[in-house]
Symmetry: C3
Subunit: 343 residues, 3 copies
């Protein structure tokens, strides 16, 4: 873990976060996992996932933030929180040492004369910014980013490094894009014409709402006519592919390696697990949860949990069962015919 | 959508594309979706996918390009085309405002003295071009591209931005590579030797035929001995992985997040849907279609549609059915034994 | 294939590798596939995969490295090896012409004054290196790499080009990272707080052991509190996603497009096939093999081969069988009830 740079009394943390404190008013200088064998002195841990409850009794940390219902089992000083994970997140932020990104444009950066960069924005080394772009107050454009024509980067947004906005990408405020992300590339639009593929021009853009986060090497294509849209507070993990003209509702979170094909619309507060796929031109209601590596082939009109796939098995067993899958309709017909004709 | 920059009479479009016109000779200044609530004035839409036919009667656009069979239901002026999507693509191109990429090498670019760059080519900011490379007429190398040794970029090809050609990559004419694409990285060739992994040198290259398109963050490894080959007019979407020594036939199109393992050969005019996987060392015939997230584990000797996987279900139902999959061979044996022994 | 630059007598190769030679002492100037139609004169091939044995009798190469058990069927001079693939790898290395990466920092590179770069290291064009980084002897940082704060690059390690180390990434010796790889980006840590997502600070780093290799566009997130760890000689192919706090044991190899969710621990000498997924917070024993596109949803406590999924079928058949999967629990109940109640 990074070197700790701050010190707080547990009582100070309790006061800052509006939490109840139990036990001694110890000094906190770091965070650590509850189960750490050798946490640094003065470390605070959290207990949120019940699977980790077994580590509480023997913890070696100085203090724990946990739910009031767990307090009686805590052998060390504690902060009580109805939402211990969120409370931990706020405390951990106090111990985070973020790199400096001072205002100004690095001498090596290439900025089109028609672009507008706020004086409080940071533009790093080897960044290029195209015609008619606007970079807002306190925005950070890290080293090696390429910003094409007609892009807008809202206030307090951060492109960590080596992000590409191809063209017509508008980011809201406090958006974070991680390295390798590519927004605004051509959607995969192809017509067959005289025995060859013909590119369909991709005339739209990408609109990303406030507080969205987009992971490393994730790609979001620009729309064919209208825009591809992420509403506010959408959270995308790494290596996700979002096709052209997709719309993702506010607060939806998608885990790594998932993919959404063109023109599909996803509701608000959906949770899409890692490696899941959604075909194109479907609509997903609010509050839908899709399981890992599941394939969504049709619209889902109400909230709920959905999944596809088969369970992991030792390969010898799996092979036999998978072979039977290939006979399943025939087997079912035998069964149902037999059942029907039986007395 | 980007600002429109052109105006055409519908009759002009009809003449340019050789299409029949129906209705008033309206002025077209933009394109819009058929179902747009508030399309710009003078917008042209298209109808190609039958699923969108329901939007025709109430469309608010100024004109529609559609199949002659749909003409009688069209409430606005129309262009009649046997291939409305291709006709739309050609019209939309007229309204596309492409960024300027003037000839010349940007002052910041680093070009090896042994490389040859055509005077009509564009080399952008922060591009590096290695020894013995050749960049052809009117080629565009966008900002931040890294071109390693012994690469050839054919006439009119475009590396949009931040593309890497590691080494020995030869692109034909009119090839387009989108940001983050990596061609010519080491194939995953490993031998076990004395209890450790030993790298197998990857001595081949990558050959990409004319008119291919390669999506954002797609990777194509160079061959181990021979080359990895894409024939002409192959279309790869984003985040596709192509292993070493794969060969992909002309006109084959592969959707996002698919992967093809080493030494597999794919025929011409195949369609591989998103997230599909092909194991290594197999051969796929021409005109094979593979469904989304399907796994191809053996050669396919004739054209046709193939798929694997299970349908999406509510998680409660899925869990029960998935558990039964784990018993499938045993259940089948019970059924078949019972059937055999029954009167 | 690249131009050959070396010549060896077969007897010299036999001596260098400690192998027995059969047949004439021919001159070897290149390597070629066993089945090549027109290999260059003086080419050596290998036979390791039994599927290629059928090509031996008609091979046109000058010599073959193969197992002693295959020697009698070899129509040309041969080198006999108990491990022909490893022997081939060593021979092929002799014919590999690697690009020059001379010591020194390119004039365009931006290196923080607090960073330390060994005088024997190569730092290429458009590289930026952040505060407190250490670049070891003979390390190669290729063009366009971005190295954030507090990173260590061990001796003889190579970042081929356009690699990003976001922060707190420590690489051992002889580590190779291919283009587009992103190490040390924020893990996907989110708490729900007052109806919005709250970022959980990612305070850990990434530790990569000696001799690891990490493929193009692969992403490895930094840990939330502790580090994400790859032990020595781990081999990752392209487009793999490794979540925060994952630990991967020595010598484990993972094929393209696989993904490992946060806090999962994988043992030593595991083989994870392409497109496989591992959910978070599980433990995988040593020497586990996971099949292509399989999903691992629970810990695996012993060695062995595991798989999930269904076989590829013609779509018409697949559709029927897949529909029956959706009825599987009901069908099983009918079968078992019938069986129980039958005489």
């Amino acid at each position: 873990m990074q070197a700790s740079t701050a010190t707080f009394r547990l009582s100070e943390l309790a006061e800052r976060l509006g939490l109840e404190r139990r036990g001694d008013d110890v000094e906190i200088v770091a965070v650590a996992p509850l189960q750490a064998d050798a946490p640094p002195a003065g470390a605070l841990a959290f207990l949120a996932n019940p699977a980790y409850r077994k580590h509480l009794a023997a913890t070696r940390v100085a203090a724990v933030v946990l739910h009031p219902a767990e307090a009686e089992h805590c052998p060390v000083p504690a902060l009580l929180s109805a939402n211990p994970y969120a409370s931990y997140a706020r405390i951990a932020t106090l111990f985070e040492r973020l790199p400096m990104r001072p205002p100004g444009v690095h001498a090596s950066a290439v900025v089109d004369p028609s672009a507008s960069v706020d004086v409080t924005a940071h533009v790093g080394a080897f960044v290029s910014i195209g015609a008619r772009c606007v970079v807002g107050p306190r925005a950070v454009i890290g080293a090696g980013c390429v910003i094409g024509e007609d892009c807008v980067i809202g206030a307090d947004s951060e492109l960590v490094a080596r992000v590409t906005l191809v063209r017509r990408v508008r980011l809201g405020q406090r958006v974070r894009l991680h390295p390798g992300a590519v927004l605004g590339a051509d959607g995969f639009g192809l017509a067959v014409d005289a025995g060859r593929w013909l590119n369909v021009p991709q005339l739209g853009g990408v609109v990303v709402g406030d507080d969205c986060e987009i992971g490393a090497n994730t790609t979001i294509d620009r729309g064919a006519i209208d825009d591809t849209v992420l509403e506010e507070d959408v959270r995308l993990d790494n290596q996700i592919q979002i096709g052209h003209n997709v719309r993702i509702g506010a607060h939806t979170a998608i885990a790594g390696c998932a993919a959404v094909a063109g023109s599909t619309r996803i509701g608000r507060w959906c949770l899409i697990a890692g490696g899941a796929g959604l075909v194109g031109h479907i609509e997903i209601a609010d509050k839908v949860t899709v399981g890992a590596m599941s394939l969504v082939t049709h619209s889902l009109t109400g909230p709920g949990e959905y999944a596809s796939g088969t369970p992991l098995q030792p390969k010898r067993d799996w092979r036999k069962n998978a072979a039977r899958f290939g006979q399943l309709d025939r087997l079912a017909r035998i069964l149902l015919k037999k059942t029907d004709s039986s007395p």
